[in-house]
Symmetry: C2
Subunit: 280 residues, 2 copies
């Protein structure tokens, strides 16, 4: 999927919601546990109930790997289900991978070819040759961690640091600036946590056009309107992720209905913002 197609989906659905599929067997409705593949059945029900309100789904691979081969099968069935039934959805493997060149190529192959995700999250610490193998895939997107939504973000990401290009900047700004020079950088998006909405203005000075994947609205305290005020661009340029608030809205038989209700609330907030921004 191209970013233009993603923008079209956002306009069509009046939503830039991404639903995080972080499925923990201890938190899903217990009646699903008797089924052969509870994780997949849970995802399927959530996706079926919310697909018209969201433009993107993001399984976090940790939650699947924790269940070993069975979990990996659930992940594969989930992405196949989306690709077969809802090909207009933008899929994100939240995997936070990154390794030396030839090894990153193997990860890129795993997520872009074997599993056929539209995008994968990647950690920047190992630099250019750890990210470029992901960028080489046409119409696939590499979502680089810039400023994350957790408290540990302030350990290193905001350290004052010097490079030839930026003499006085925080590390995440160096990451944004440096990454723009990598081959096929047009295929980059960035993770920027919502917990620091004012950072978005600084970030937009460096990457005005890129899509930003934004965790941390809701459960982690971020505010949607503020993030949009500072971070939205002419192609919207934002995917707001919500995981627990939607998928664990209920852990009873009504879980899919309640998940839809939560997703609808977010979609309606987004529609107001989009209508105000794009009404002219």
């Amino acid at each position: 999927m191209t970013t233009q197609q993603l923008f079209e989906q956002i306009q069509l659905k009046k939503s830039f919601l991404c639903v995080g599929l972080d499925v923990d067997l201890t938190k899903i409705p217990q009646h699903l546990l008797v089924l052969e593949d509870p994780i997949f059945e849970f995802n399927k029900a959530i996706i079926d109930a919310t697909h018209d309100l969201a433009v993107s789904y993001k399984p976090n691979t940790a939650f699947y790997e924790a269940y070993g081969i069975k979990g990996w099968i659930s992940l594969q069935k989930t992405i196949n289900y989306i690709n077969e039934n809802y090909p207009d959805l933008f899929t994100i493997a939240d995997a936070k991978r990154g390794d030396i060149g030839n090894t990153s190529s193997m990860y890129a192959k795993a997520f872009f070819e074997d599993l056929n995700f539209d995008s994968v999250t990647v950690a920047p610490y190992m630099g250019k040759d750890s990210v470029e193998p992901f960028l080489a895939f046409e119409n696939k997107h590499t979502i680089l961690l810039a400023l994350t939504s957790n408290t540990g973000a302030f350990d290193f990401q905001t350290l004052q640091s010097k490079s030839e290009k930026l003499l006085e900047a925080e590390l995440y700004q160096q990451v944004l600036e440096t990454s723009k020079n990598w081959t096929n950088s047009k295929n980059l998006m960035y993770v920027v946590g919502a917990t620091k909405a004012t950072y978005f203005s600084e970030i937009r000075k460096i990457v005005p056009d890129s899509f930003l994947l934004v965790p941390g609205v809701g459960a982690q305290g971020g505010n949607l309107a503020e993030v949009c005020a500072h971070g939205m661009n002419d192609q919207v340029g934002l995917l707001i992720n919500s995981s627990r608030a939607i998928i664990y809205a209920s852990n009873d038989f009504d879980f899919a209905v309640k998940a839809r209700a939560e997703a609808l609330k977010m979609q309606q907030e987004m529609q107001v913002i989009l209508d105000a921004k794009f009404s002219n």
Copy 2:
């Protein structure tokens, strides 16, 4: 396995060699491809041929994920084979994971419980709460990326940066220094690439006692004697990784024999160094 037990194995085998199991189906002997699980059969032959010359084995997860569920099964069979047949080997999942707290817990569960590795490599970019869930496991080890062996290491890891503790230091030094204050930091080891042997003196000032996992000797140009001169401590404190030079020494029927010959060469070099260091 404790670091004391690892040190004892090093003394016993007169080796601090780690064999990297980065198995690429296009590079292994073609006669293995007719078998049901070529990756596992290759690993089994390599391990059987070299287990008395190495103290550690390190599958890089990328090479397994690239083959989807089949690859994940090969990984599981490989770690089970080591744990059942050679329980004195120190096993490393080279996974370079890291995510927000509850998600890192799922990765830790995947690698320490489900797969039962002794250790896992973790990326530091997301800070304290992304690493501490790994550190919570007793007698399991978290190998944090500090200074990697690839060219991209110089993009961010060596940027001059300021923290409260270190006013003027490179980012990897900030990572080393900061991580010492995390809960259960005694369970930390670090990845330090061999391509910059002189860096080891600086690193030993910050983490004198920690084990360092050292890629980049051989294929990537690092020199074993130099690394040891600058980086070895009283418990040796080094695991030198070699992947391609050993496992792809031949891609013919003699691949295991040739792999053993390469591993023996490295073990003999190591024995000379250990004898010189610990002879008194």
